[in-house]
């Protein structure tokens, strides 16, 4: 079920009423309702793949218990390995099998061995990368003694499949989300109102920004040889805003929805395009995934401690793995590598934590130096996004090569319509950059007619200017 669909418009209020008015007597029953509706939400797309989530949940539920029960480290490790093998095995089969198979075939063919490797006709289950990472965080944290294993299967299954963030994150840590299933939730008016505002902001980013950009981006990337350099440059900028609007919009709707049910999910995006360097960008972009890799891959590898070689190695590993997480294609690996290359100078010069505050802190306007830094970071990001969007690496190189041609300063031949929406987005996010989302209001003096006027304006903009419905990009990851 898509967040931007009529079905969800009916689903959400129905679940809300059932949750707070009918199933509100006992926590277990409320959790059971969440579990059921989460399975309905997921099954709406393809009920067959529910079996994967259920199987994964069963394995990790028992692995957690047996890790805790085991007296010897070796036994604990075996249970953890079992959990990792099954979760990563699912990912390997459903997401990466064909990639490895065809890459092996190409490699062997290139050295003269003609082979036909097996490729499978596999459908990628929606959200598999998100929920497997979420459930892996549980067994790892239990193994590390950071979390007590749960004995409540309903709470655990609901944690794995919690519908607001099931298919595209934020990838929640068990330490944050699971305990919220143990405690009685009470309705908080302010939290619910802010949740609705965040949903509205997410819908604006998805339907107005991302979907309008998508129309142009698809045209430009599919026929890039037919466009002049300025159109290609603009097309890549539009893609930067498409992916931001699409993914952060989804996260906003997910977080807002969870708040309606009394849950707090982690912030997943913190105005990343205002970053002054790549390190800051990665602290603000897809925060739940970046911190997941930091805690479960980077730090265990030694992080930024140790020799220069180790630092460089760990940085490359983390970014390449992150790229590969996004999809089984060399384009994502190159995207990861590029980001590692961007990040490396900051790490080696010990400047990767230079910008931990917000840009133009306590000021209205950005300084010239900050503007230059933000512009450079944004440009570097856009170059990397070209690899992310292109169907293959050679197309990405050709696309970038074509940007740097003598038509860069001519008029673009594509529609400039999304620019107006992007400017609105930038202005609002600039004003709101100290807050959690673009529509967070904490001014008690703001009257109801004014507030409602703002909401109506956004709703009308969404319906008036919203482009044809597109799937969320991150569904494919």
């Amino acid at each position: 079920m898509l967040f931007n669909s009529i079905q969800y418009l009916i689903f959400l209020p129905t679940v809300f009423i059932l949750y707070w008015f009918i199933f509100n007597r006992k926590l277990k029953i409320q959790n059971f309702l969440l579990l059921t509706v989460s399975y309905v939400f997921y099954g709406w797309w393809d009920w067959r793949f529910l079996s994967l989530i259920i199987f994964s949940s069963i394995i990790d539920f028992y692995c957690g218990i047996y890790i805790k029960k085991a007296k010897r480290m070796l036994i604990k490790k075996r249970w953890l390995t079992l959990s990792m093998l099954i979760n990563l095995g699912f990912l390997g089969v459903f997401k990466y099998f064909n990639f490895f198979s065809s890459s092996l075939e190409n490699a062997l063919n290139s050295i003269g061995y003609q082979v036909d490797t097996l490729t499978l006709n596999i459908i990628l289950p929606v959200g598999i990368s998100f929920y497997t990472f979420q459930t892996m965080s549980y067994t790892i944290d239990v193994y590390r003694d950071k979390l007590k294993p749960t004995k409540d299967p309903i709470a655990f299954f609901a944690f794995v499949s919690f519908f607001p963030q099931l298919v595209a994150g934020p990838i929640e840590r068990a330490t944050n989300l699971l305990p919220q299933f143990y405690e009685k939730r009470t309705f908080d008016l302010e939290k619910a109102k802010d949740g609705l505002r965040q949903i509205l902001w997410g819908l604006f980013k998805k339907i107005v920004i991302a979907d309008n950009c998508a129309v142009i981006v698809n045209q430009v990337f599919e026929n890039y040889t037919e466009y002049n350099a300025s159109s290609l440059a603009l097309g890549s900028i539009f893609f930067a805003f498409q992916i931001y609007g699409d993914f952060s919009g989804y996260s906003d709707i997910a977080i807002g929805t969870a708040r309606l049910f009394g849950f707090n999910l982690m912030q997943n995006f913190a105005f990343p395009y205002f970053s002054r360097d790549i390190a800051e960008f990665w602290r603000r972009w897809h925060i739940s995934l970046s911190t997941w890799f930091r805690d479960y891959v980077y730090i265990p590898l030694g992080g930024s401690r140790g020799s220069t070689f180790k630092k460089v190695r760990n940085t490359f590993i983390i970014f390449v793995v992150s790229g590969f997480w996004h999809g089984a294609n060399w384009t994502f690996i190159v995207w990861g590598l590029l980001n590692a290359i961007y990040f490396l100078p900051l790490l080696l010069l010990n400047k990767n934590r230079n910008n931990t505050d917000t840009v133009a802190e306590k000021k209205v306007f950005i300084s010239f130096k900050e503007l230059i830094n933000v512009s450079i970071t944004f440009t570097l990001t856009i170059i990397a996004w070209v690899f992310f969007r292109a169907p293959n690496v050679s197309t990405a190189f050709n696309y970038i090569n074509n940007i740097f041609s003598n038509t860069l300063f001519t008029m673009p031949s594509i529609s400039l319509k999304p620019l107006a929406f992007i400017i609105i987005l930038i202005v609002i996010e600039w004003i709101q950059r100290h807050r959690k989302h673009g529509l967070e209001l904490d001014n008690p003096k703001m009257s109801r007619p004014l507030r409602w006027g703002v909401y109506y304006t956004f709703i009308i903009i969404i319906f008036w200017f919203g482009a044809e419905k597109q799937e969320f990009i991150y569904f494919q990851f």
Partner: protein, 311 residues
């Protein structure tokens, strides 16, 4: 909680009220769209005595026949009932069959896209038709309503915008009839505004989606209903430009095979109505007069052959 529910309800209610007003507000534009030609077409269908021939489908029919020429050669009155493919095949046919009487012949030329996905249930243009002919709401099923519901808010807001625009701005009535105007049709229902035009300006497009077998079942049901009324139903292929045909040949072959395996009266082959791109006007479906004349001749032949067999 109570405060939240009440506020949310008031907010949602006021929004839905705005949408409702947008839907029922009168169209105060001086030059109404071709969707409003449904009013005249209904009148034509009502006053034409049976046995008559009703041509229907999407705009490939509206822009694709010279009904007077057909009428002169088949000895039956001919009415072109078609307006827009976006209404969905179900609505188009349900609307046409209201006027079917004993002895009539219903000739349907669906667009290929009508047989893919849920396109036969209609899209945004269906809302335009319903505002032009509100009494046709009775023809709308729940599945059609669900299919068009995502378009309703934007459609209603656009109507409000248009209403305010025409209220505030003084627009002079033009003596020229626009191509997509309510008055762009002749006394048989054909759009004839482009008959003397020579330029071609359109882009070919690729079909997408999967064949929907429910459409075939629906057409088979309609055939039975039409036959029960003592009338006949005939399906012919739509006109399409050559380049569009080449790009979409796989789709067309699948549709052709499925239609021919059904119990429907399919006459001719898809390539019977394929014409060079230069004979199309502003869409891969909209013919210029030279091709209209050729297509009308082919239909005359089809109808005469069909009538001879039936006799």
């Amino acid at each position: 909680m109570k405060k939240f529910i009440i506020s949310s309800f008031i907010f949602a209610f006021s929004f839905f009220a705005l949408i409702f007003i947008g839907l029922i507000i009168p169209n105060n534009s001086l030059d109404r769209s071709i969707d409003y030609s449904i009013i005249v077409k209904h009148e034509l269908l009502k006053k034409t005595t049976s046995p008559k021939i009703i041509l229907t489908g999407g705009s490939n029919v509206l822009f694709g026949f010279d009904s007077e020429k057909i009428e002169d050669n088949v000895n039956s009155p001919v009415i072109n009932h078609a307006i827009h493919a976006g209404y969905g095949l179900k609505y188009i046919i349900d609307d046409a069959t209201q006027f079917i009487n004993e002895g009539d012949l219903l000739v349907i030329s669906p667009e290929y896209s009508h047989l893919l996905d849920k396109n036969y249930l209609g899209k945004e243009p269906l809302l335009f038709s319903l505002t032009a002919k509100p009494s046709n709401l009775k023809l709308i099923s729940l599945s059609q309503l669900i299919n068009v519901s995502p378009f309703i808010p934007k459609f209603a807001i656009n109507r409000l915008k248009s209403f305010v625009y025409y209220k505030l701005k003084t627009v002079k009535e033009s003596s020229e009839i626009g191509m997509y105007s309510e008055h762009a049709i002749n006394t048989h229902g054909d759009n004839y505004q482009h008959w003397d035009k020579n330029e071609s300006n359109f882009e070919i497009y690729e079909f997408s989606g999967v064949l929907n077998k429910d459409v075939i079942k629906y057409l088979e049901r309609i055939k039975l209903n039409v036959n029960e009324k003592g009338a006949k139903l005939l399906i012919v292929y739509p006109s399409l430009c050559e380049s569009s045909y080449k790009v979409n040949k796989n789709y067309i072959d699948i549709i052709d095979k499925e239609l021919n395996n059904s119990n429907l009266n399919i006459v001719g082959r898809p390539d019977d109505f394929i014409y060079p791109d230069s004979l199309f006007f502003d869409s891969p479906y909209h013919l210029k007069y030279k091709a209209i004349s050729s297509r009308s001749n082919k239909l005359i032949q089809i109808i005469n052959d069909f009538n001879n067999i039936e006799k």
